[in-house]
């Protein structure tokens, strides 16, 4: 019985995936996206956060032909199809970089740190890389 309670479909946790790293300089951005795409298949409450240099992952017009790496920024567009709808970007991080929501490849919810803080505090699992 206990095992059923734990693994049954009614166990829904709030998972937050936090992206604080720029793309291409390291692989963390790409491999975190791979986790999120897999996680979307589970019936859990998922949110994805981009803050600090992580906001650069979503910058429009990436063209990686000159560095020989895959341009994975287009894959963010698939998040909606995968049912991942809570995509938050910290306003302070955008501002510091002279960016705004219009510079990003997908529509996101831009939140001030104080509001993002409230959402973070409500999570059950926070995964960062």
């Amino acid at each position: 019985m206990e095992e059923y309670d734990e693994s049954g479909p009614e166990v829904v946790k709030r998972f937050m995936y936090v992206n604080r790293r720029a793309p291409y300089g390291t692989i963390y951005a790409l491999e975190c996206l791979e986790v999120v795409l897999v996680a979307a298949a589970f019936d859990q409450d998922i949110s994805v956060v981009f803050m600090d240099d992580g906001v650069y992952q979503l910058k429009k017009n990436q063209d990686t032909t000159g560095i020989g790496m895959k341009n994975f920024s287009k894959t963010f567009g698939a998040l909606e199809d995968y049912g991942v709808e809570k995509i938050y970007v910290e306003k302070e991080s955008l501002d510091a970089r002279g960016l705004s929501a219009g510079d990003l490849v997908i529509p996101v919810e831009v939140l001030a740190a104080v509001d993002l803080s409230e959402i973070m505090a409500r999570q059950d699992v926070v995964i960062s890389s």
Binding site: V18, E92, M120, A121, S128
Partner: protein, 103 residues
């Protein structure tokens, strides 16, 4: 809901993890400094004000074995930071609803 535990493993001199954590963590949370994050606990270092100024918002902890490894056992830590060992680290994780690592 119980407060969060935040883990910082980066030196405040080299990375901005601590700054981001202090900006986003909800007052009432706990912050544990491990690995190179323990340098943030030093009372005499230039960044000491970052933590000293937030003592009322957060409970600060530092991992003793990482402090000792770096030769800082005899250094003055910022007043109010509690030193824990690995068992205390486990207890902190257990006592808080969720743990967030600021990598």
């Amino acid at each position: 809901m119980s407060p969060m535990l935040h883990l910082i493993n980066k030196s405040p001199f080299e990375r901005t993890a601590l700054d981001s954590c202090l900006r986003l963590a909800k007052p009432g949370s706990s912050i544990l400094l491990i690995e190179d994050g323990v340098y943030a606990a030093l009372g005499k270092a230039a960044h000491a004000g970052k933590i000293a100024g937030r003592m009322e918002d957060f409970s600060f902890y530092v991992l003793g074995p990482d402090v000792a490894a770096r030769g800082l056992s005899d250094a003055a830590l910022i007043e109010g930071i509690a030193v824990v060992d690995y068992a205390g680290f486990v207890d902190l994780v257990a006592e808080h609803h969720v743990t967030q690592s600021w990598l």
